[in-house]
């Protein structure tokens, strides 16, 4: 899967699952501060990522993510890209 495709799907998840305004989503945006995703929202997003991309994201790797771009990096890495 190419990076732009992963980015597009991640944005869709943020809009559909967490109700975030798509215009506020940039690759540099942080989940907790810029997008105001709470801790439960982060967990919801992780589960949605795992389902959508068929990957497993351990807690310690999830904790290292703070921006949308970093989440894309992690998914890319998990998919072997």
């Amino acid at each position: 899967m190419e990076r732009p495709e992963i980015e597009k799907k991640l944005v869709e998840l943020l809009v559909d699952e967490l109700g975030i305004d798509s215009e506020s989503i940039t690759m540099d945006a942080t989940f907790e501060e810029d997008l105001e995703v709470d801790s439960l929202g982060v967990v919801e997003l992780l589960m949605a990522l795992e389902d959508t991309f068929g990957v497993k994201i351990p807690d310690e790797e999830a904790e290292a993510i703070s921006t949308v771009g970093e989440a894309v990096d992690l998914v890319m890495q998990k998919l072997g890209g």
């Binding site: 699952e17 709470d38 439960l40 919801e44 589960m47």
Partner: protein, 243 residues
């Protein structure tokens, strides 16, 4: 509004009454029980009363079986919106004589299963921004009861679990509560010796054991839209027990 409810341990006793009551309120009910015949009997009783129910057999202490059950219920009725954690067993003995097997069996069925089913149910509830979780505790968990160290520990643990999960998911409009029955007329309390039953009655303000319907009514209320601002609570249904 008709919703999808799953009641664990609904093959008999309080669980059967809860399933019947929820169906009577217009909900579509998945009837879980470890014993397929018992679940089928509750489904038949619900259908005879004009309600909608399906059997959902599974060992609720088994993580994979719980996941499979929730998938099957979602396929047949839709995602679970109301979860009632009712399945429970007793293995009574004074603690000095209580075996680790009896401890583990009671903690697994009465507490581990609550965690497994709640976790499995929450995902679709969070997404839907609506959910009701009601777990059946016991006055044993609130007051202690000689001979029930395992059961009381599990039923008290369930209350801590309930209050915690209520805090975790409250922002998503999911409420999590417990109902703590006192002495209710079921097969479980029918095993009490007549002398014990007689001795208990004067301690019950209402002067009688409760009925499964008394408990089911409280559960039905907590599962309704009317109870949308109640979470993390324990409703005691014990007829005014003063032990």
């Amino acid at each position: 509004m008709s919703r999808v409810a799953l009641v664990t341990g609904a093959g008999r006793g309080i669980g059967r009454a809860i399933a019947g009551n929820l169906a009577g309120l217009g909900h579509r009910v998945a009837v879980n029980d470890l014993t397929a015949d018992a679940a089928a009997a509750t489904v038949a009783a619900v259908e005879a009363a004009g309600g909608e129910a399906v059997a959902a057999g599974a060992d609720v202490t088994d993580e994979a079986a719980v996941a499979k059950m929730f998938e099957e219920v979602a396929d047949r009725l839709g995602p679970v919106e109301i979860l009632v954690n009712n399945a429970g067993i007793t293995r009574d003995n004074l603690v000095l004589r209580m075996s680790p097997d009896d401890w583990d069996a009671v903690l697994n069925t009465n507490l581990r299963a609550v965690y497994l089913c709640t976790r499995a149910a929450l995902r679709s509830m969070l997404k839907a921004r609506w959910g009701r979780i009601v777990s059946i505790s016991s006055v044993s968990g609130l007051r202690g009861n000689a001979g029930q160290a395992n059961y009381a520990a599990a039923k008290a643990g369930l209350i801590g679990f309930t209050k915690t999960v209520a805090k975790e998911v409250g922002s998503r409009n999911v409420t999590v509560n417990a109902v703590a029955p006192g002495f209710i007329e079921t097969e479980m309390t029918a095993e009490l010796p007549a002398s014990v039953r007689e001795a208990l009655l004067p301690a019950i303000s209402l002067g009688r054991f409760g009925t499964p319907q008394d408990v089911a009514s409280a559960v039905g209320y907590l599962a309704s839209d009317s109870a949308s601002y109640i979470t993390g609570q324990v409703i005691v249904v014990d007829g005014g027990l003063a032990l």
